[in-house]
Symmetry: C2
Subunit: 180 residues, 2 copies
DNA sequence: GTCTATAGTGGGATAGAC
DNA sequence: GTCTATCCCACTATAGAC
């Protein structure tokens, strides 16, 4: 099965996989369960998708598009000559909101190695673009991304104690991280 | 098998498990492989360890102790009235160095849920203590921890492009994150 | 405390007929 | 493009003898 031949059936498969992933978590996303939801037999899936890795790459691409849309949209609502610090906080809020709304998709797209060879060209960079624009510098963008990802994944993993004021920690970070 | 009954044999099992984990990664740490390394049969392991979860908790405890030692030691070498900013950078270096030296152990201890019920009381707090001391505040400590964990896990996962100047990103973050 | 034997579960993937 | 049949893999964990 070649990589990028589009097909309506395949889109249905990816949509179903996404539903399973988002609602039941990664351990329940098996080729068998996916086939069952589509009312077909598992071996038939392999006529549409090379293997599970390809399927996951298609989901990761959806995640990157979704996150990218959220981040680009967050910046659009802002005055173009406004405070960069404020823009960073806005971006951070959009990032966290998207991740908490799609925790399994967020994890899939941000944990472990990224199967770059299976992703559309330029998608990764497009997703990250708003952050680079606000920080004005690749090093600061990476620092800000690391902070946001760290906060997000630690929250998703239940690493902060119940008493922790997570909003305040985000605030402490975005207020002090340097921007352009 | 009760939780905290110490035993020499169990220490050997944990040590062997750690070797496998560190050298061959988590997917190769199976009860079978562990038994094989110890020249015994897998079922015999269950006389010493309740199950794999308990074994992993013992490894996580080792990781937290190791990281904690590295962080406490890093602060000891510093003048007690020196710059907090400088202390934060020192701590960050120690954190990163430890993680890169023990990537699989680092992942085990920082990814996913922490099995707090199976860990020694106070260990988690002791590991984090140096960071709280330097930032002087729980919110800032969490922000700094999120930054450090984000940088580390993104580096371990190969998320930064080869062209990225990871040292510079660390520097950008630690220089701007606020301290006491 | 070690063994043998094995249960029980689940997964990804392929061959070949229709 | 779908099916049936099946393979092959791997793992955790238990029962019961010694």
């Amino acid at each position: 099965m070649s990589l990028t031949v589009p097909s309506a059936r395949r889109d249905e498969i990816v949509a179903a996989a996404r539903q399973i992933l988002e609602k039941e978590g990664p351990s329940n996303l098996t080729m068998r369960a996916l086939a069952e939801r589509l009312e077909m037999r598992a071996p038939s899936l392999y006529k549409h998708v090379a293997d599970k890795d390809e399927l996951e790459a298609l989901l990761i691409a959806e995640a990157l598009r979704g996150m990218g849309e959220a981040l680009h949209a967050a910046l659009e609502g802002l005055p173009s000559r406004g405070s960069k610090k404020r823009a960073l906080a806005t971006l951070a809020r959009a990032y966290r909101t998207w991740a908490l709304a799609h925790p399994h998709l967020y994890r899939l797209a941000t944990e472990g190695e990224l199967p770059r060879a299976l992703l559309p060209d330029g998608l990764e960079a497009w997703t990250a673009e708003p952050l680079v624009r606000v920080t004005g510098d690749a090093d600061r963008a990476r620092a800000a991304w690391a902070f946001a990802h760290g906060m997000t994944i630690l929250e998703l993993d239940g690493r902060f104690p119940p008493s922790a004021d997570i909003d305040a920690a985000w605030e402490a970070g975005t207020a002090s991280l340097s921007v352009a």
